[in-house]
Amino acid sequence: MNTSMNPSSRPQSTNHNPETCLSLQNVSISYGNGKNVAVNNVFMEIPKGKVTAFIGPSGCGKSTVLRALNRMNDLIEGCGLKGRVLFDGQDLYDKRVDPVEVRRRIGMVFQKPNPFPKSIYENIAFGARINGYQGDMDELVESSLRKAALWDEAKDKLKESGFSLSGGQQQRLCIARTIAVEPEVILMDEPCSALDPISTLKIEETMHELKKTFTIVIVTHNMQQATRVSDLTGFFNVTDLVDYEGKVGCLEEFGETERIFNSPAQQATQDYVSGRFG
């Protein structure tokens, strides 16, 4: 992929399934220096080149788990992680790992569109440039915008501010910006929650296009969206722990989207996907 990156510098761990992209092993994440446990004991194998969806009720820790996958939680004071997150067999939370390098390889699109206060062109060029991109920048900007289904709308105003776009267009600009860095994985936290159905469909088409080259993990509250875009689905839920007051999130069930929505093993999953929840 990106020629400027240097894959040979990662040590490989043993007994690692080459089909697995991200592997969560007994991951528990807490806020407030361990006072508030957000999610507990998550085991998950996220395969390469597939779209994996996280669904579940509000506050069950989907965003928390997603942010743990590229060490975004490092930015939140007092947030701690127990267990292991392996990326290509390598522990992301190893002391020697550089979180900046992690985020270059595992990009993220946020729930709220957050373009930089720069031109549309610069929004995309910024990430590529700081990652040492040497090629033709115009070409990269065009191809990224095309992949994010924004090229037709933005090609005549590349020099204008990113804020001059509508909310849906801004979100696609943020996706284009993430693509331009050429990560291996793209994490999306409810990327369509502020969008109209047409923009949503465009982004979903984009995702189908993107999964040929990227591994995608998406958090969504929209069941139809999960069934439309994802190959695998993880259902998160909140439970009461025996020795802990308050609700704690956990991964209730994880498997093929097909199976989760049609014949889930757990009653809670059945209730949630059929809309009979809570």
Partner: protein, 324 residues
Amino acid sequence: MYWRNGLCVVSAYVILESPMTTSPLASSGHRPADVAKSTLHRQPNLPRNRWNAVFTVLAGVFAAIVVLPLLLVLAYVVIKGGSSMSLKLLTDLPPAPGMTGGGIGNAILGTLIVSLIAALIAIPIGVGGGIYLAEYSKSGPFASFVRFGTNVLAGVPSIICGVFVYGLIVATRIFFDQSYSAMAGGIALAVLMLPTIIKTTDEGLKLVPQELRWGAIGVGASKFVTITRITLPTAMKPIATGIVLSIARAAGETAPLIFTALFSPFWPEGLFNPIASMSVLIYNFAIMPYDVQIALAWATSFVLVMMILIMNIFARYLGSLNRI
């Protein structure tokens, strides 16, 4: 308490209602039902509308009192100092006592030099400190101590800054065995500017939405790149405005300069020699028994006030700039 309130309301009521006897509405109370139903038109005689009018006028009067000193100072300085404006005045040296003619060229240049030294010292330190507070410090005791110290420093009288730099630099002759110097004056003004710059940087950076930082970090930017390429440029407006205002404030200071830069009737001779400045020139000349010098002091006041006014207008212009 209750009866006093009641009395108050009643007396206010009496005052308001009494002139209304001529009004046909007055007889049926302060809000006649038939009128309320029949018309939506504004009734200027209603108590609430009268109170509104009273307070609008009152607020306007106070606002006028607020800007009055500014207008008076400006008018007075323009009348007393503006009349003697000429190119010669801006470029010549002041005359010796008893002589006529001359100008304030050295003082203008001196103020510019000392302010520039102060800005060159205070901007990097102040912006750096603000960046530390907003971006690096994890709301620990050190950060709150620095914030507290900044607030205290902002309240320290400027003469204390002068005495401090006098004791630190002038009395110890630390720079090439020189005592009073432009450099010492610049340092004293820098101490005065620091708190403003630190605070505006800190607050300007805190206004930058967190999502923007996440966006940059999410595409693999390091903390340094995020700050220098995204966060700082986004907060440029308030920071630049704060810097310009702090320079404008420091440029007019007298007390710290008397103790540090002193004065010189000649053109600046270097950074480590005493230097003239407009504020100290005013201080020196205004109390001299010569009309020429007193006229020069007025002319200097005019130039100084105009300079500060222009810087404030420039700061407003910076604040109104729209970043892409």
